[in-house]
């Protein structure tokens, strides 16, 4: 009986192995996905220069790069490549795997493509690889071989800022990035992140929107006393994560939005721990915690699930998010829920509250050419393509008539190009280039967005606040990577050496201070601990990076 079982098992295995072996014979050895055969992109390879491109498949469930032939926008991009005599061959890896594939391929030096998305490698690794010559210097490529498009774009055009950020201390550029610029009233302007409070509760309780931190505290207290969610418990709380400095309330006390950051109008890098408002800030949060107005379990948790739960349970009186967010309302079990942003509440007489803003000129992600690629002219040509007006149009707007139309001289997206219509767009083959090749991404996108669009469609209470604060100062950036040019290898190594222990202690201190496990009055001692762990060094590193930023050159 058992023998039979074993032999049955053996036979099944061999059969399956046989079939599987057949299946893999075709795909074995070749690393391209079976549904992206090179032949479909082929016209006249003899005249064209081949570029092997490795990139991640975007996470859009309906619009997939593998199906690009079905989309109206693809032939246009191909035509653009044709005019530059370029013939790209793609290897597309699913996004969830991309980082691993990227790390293993680059670390082992095997099977390297010509052009690839290196965003998912960490700073230290990328800078080392650049110094070891793994990447072709983009600045040289552009200087020597560009037809002018890329040169203009990066020297005087919209790519100038991005190029500056990507320039190393020795003046070389090893990669290009995505560029997104937002504007308001034709000037650079961007969105921000603020504390959002329950407007419906405010109205039901007969309160005015708070303008000071103390009024905010009173508001939370009133919400609890009046049991705004009607369940008989005093569980209406502030739900946010103070383990990160970008949390809205820290900015009321004039604190910058990162462990080491700066005030945009000032350009001096510092740390919240060194700033004047630090003690008052913790006193405030501790007061909220002591009176159960703040959910302390959310401090520094790995996932958002607990916060989502509180919001869904209709317990979140205030949270931290984008000024014009509307997604939290849909997550609350109470259909009347409405959040409104409140900005720059005064907390300390002598301190100007800050607002944390998203950089209006975003440069993110990295794409590079590997040293394997011999055809430098083709490389420069690819960069040129990515800087053309046509590429921008295809990426951001798609094709006229299919995804956008021109109304009164202004481009406007058609409904099918909006996010709710992905499934339909996938079926009809009408999508923006952004969703097809830049979401993920195979190619870096360029996007120029006037904020008026968004402002025009959100509820009035949010739109009003956004317009009010668009020119507010002083401000601090959300994330400093968009202001610090590429660091030197020494700086990155030094930073990495310090950072884990320093950040661990910083986060611990935050939790312990709020929970009252250590004394706020002993702040000097606590800061001294952080100094011993290298806080000053981190600030110095940040400052020397910022000094190389043209906008802040000293």
């Amino acid at each position: 009986m058992k023998k039979k079982l074993l032999s049955l098992l053996l036979m099944t295995t061999m059969l399956l192995a046989f079939f599987a072996g057949c299946g893999t014979a075709e795909t074995n050895g070749s690393t391209a996905l079976p549904n992206t055969p090179a032949s479909s992109d082929q016209d006249n390879t003899s005249e064209k220069r081949i570029i092997k491109i490795l990139g991640p498949q975007g996470s859009n469930p309906y619009i997939k790069f593998a199906d690009r032939e079905n989309y109206t926008v693809w032939p246009e991009l191909k035509a653009l490549f044709d005019t530059y005599h370029l013939h790209p061959e793609f290897e597309v890896i699913p996004l969830d795997q991309y980082k691993t594939v990227l790390q293993t391929r680059t670390a082992s030096g095997t099977d390297l493509p010509d052009f690839l998305n290196i965003t998912y490698l960490d700073d230290a690794t990328i800078i080392r690889m650049a110094n070891q010559g793994l990447f072709l210097p983009v600045d040289e490529l552009i200087d020597q071989y560009s037809d002018g498009t890329a040169k203009d774009f990066f020297t005087n055009g919209k790519g100038q800022y991005s190029n500056m950020l990507n320039t190393t201390e020795s003046g070389k550029v090893y990669w290009i990035s995505q560029i997104q610029q937002t504007s308001y009233d034709d000037k650079p302007g961007s969105t921000s992140m603020l504390i959002n409070i329950r407007k419906d509760w405010l109205e039901a309780a007969g309160l005015d929107a708070p303008t000071t931190a103390d009024e905010f505290y009173q508001m939370l207290k009133t919400f609890q006393e009046k049991d705004m969610n009607g369940n008989g418990l005093k569980d209406e709380v502030l739900t946010f994560n103070p383990a990160v400095w970008n949390n809205g309330i820290a900015q009321w006390f004039g604190l910058v939005a990162d462990l080491s950051s700066f005030v945009l109008e000032d350009g001096t890098v510092t740390s919240p721990w060194y700033q004047d408002g630090i003690k008052d800030y913790f006193r405030f949060l501790k007061k909220l915690a002591d009176e159960d107005l703040l959910d302390t379990t959310l401090i520094g948790l790995e996932t958002d699930d607990q916060l989502d739960q509180k919001v869904a349970e209709n317990k979140s009186a205030a949270l931290h998010s984008y000024t014009m967010q509307t997604w939290y309302e849909a997550s609350v079990s109470d259909t009347n829920a409405q959040y409104m942003p409140i900005a720059a509440l005064k907390a300390v007489d002598t301190i100007e509250p800050l607002i944390a803003v998203e950089p209006p000129s975003l440069s993110y992600g990295r794409w590079a050419f590997t040293k394997e690629f011999q055809d430098k002219e083709a490389a420069a040509a690819l960069i040129d393509v990515l800087c053309t007006e046509k590429y921008v149009e295809l990426t951001q707007w798609g094709t006229e008539g299919d995804t956008f139309e021109v109304v009164d001289g202004e481009k406007q997206l058609l409904p099918i190009a909006t996010n709710v219509q992905w499934e339909q767009a996938g079926k009809e083959g009408k999508a923006l280039g952004d969703l097809l090749w830049a979401n993920g991404s195979i190619f870096p996108k360029r996007r120029f967005v006037p904020m008026e669009n968004e402002i025009g469609i959100v509820p009035a209470c949010k739109a009003e606040v956004q317009v009010e604060i668009i020119n507010y100062s002083p401000t601090t950036p959300i994330g400093t990577s968009n202001y610090y040019p590429v660091m030197t290898q020494e700086a990155v190594d030094r930073r990495n050496e310090i950072f884990t222990d320093l950040n661990t202690r910083s986060r611990e201190l935050i939790a312990q201070l709020i929970l009252g496990q250590i004394e706020i009055d002993d702040m000097d001692q606590h800061v001294a601990e952080l100094d011993a762990l290298g806080l000053k060094d981190i600030v110095e590193i940040g400052q020397s990076s910022l000094n190389r930023n043209d906008t802040y050159a000293k």
Binding site: T13, T24, T27, Q97, T326
Partner: protein, 302 residues
Amino acid sequence: MDSIKKGNRIKDESKAANMLIGIFMLAVIFITLYPLYYVFILSVSDPIEAATMKVFLYPKGLYFRAYKIILKDQNIWRSFGYTIFYVLTGTFLTIFTSTTTGYVLSSPHLRGKKWVTIFLLVPMYFSGGTIPSFLLISKLHLYNTVWALVFTSSFNIMYMIYVRSYFYSIPEEMREAAKIEGAGNFKIFRQIYLPLAMPVIAVIAIYTIVNIWNSWYNSMVYQPNTDIQPLQMYLRRVLIEQTVDLTKTGSMAEMEALARTRLSTSQLKYSMIIFTTVPVIIVYPFFQKHFVKGVMLGSVKG
């Protein structure tokens, strides 16, 4: 008379003990079965209700989108098929390597036994990391093939030790007797030890099946080709694909629609669990009989 009294007392003690044990086991069933039931309820409830985590007895607002998302892609059946292949090959090979090694190590005449044991134990504690393994698989031309997974799950050192330990409990007389009759080691292994090893083989089988069924890491590193990837890779991908970036949207309606998507996506992790567990529960009884009833080892004496 005395023995009857004793017998009765034992019976009474037994009854009380039986009840206690029975109640205890009912409690065990509750704490292990209910959570899975809870997961099931969460997976089919309305997303907002599920986010509150407060649906304890029955689902509120039936909502099957999470399952639809998983099942809508035909590729899931392909990954299912490949997973079955990996499970069968991996389990067969692991049983083979475990039983042969266990047999050899339990052999009293083996010289250098201690060194072989230590040789086997070292890799359980030390690993060279992802990159060297990646390089090895590449050099062996196994990268991006099914064989990468087959070979990497072909042995498990801990199970070799289990089998060895199991074989130690089989009396030496059996081996000696067979040898006297002129049987070689292969024959002894196949005809005596292997049949006796069914209980431990069943354990190895179920442990290996479950581990391969749940695994995805090796596939992530060695198999960029999505066609041959196992089920867990597929499910993880579905989860990540559905995770939406809310900050760059264009309209109110969009944002609201995406917010609902975001919530139902967080439910995906529950339906993934149900989807993964059900096949195992179905297959399990086949192995369970080896742990649940007594096995007569009369053949040992004979």
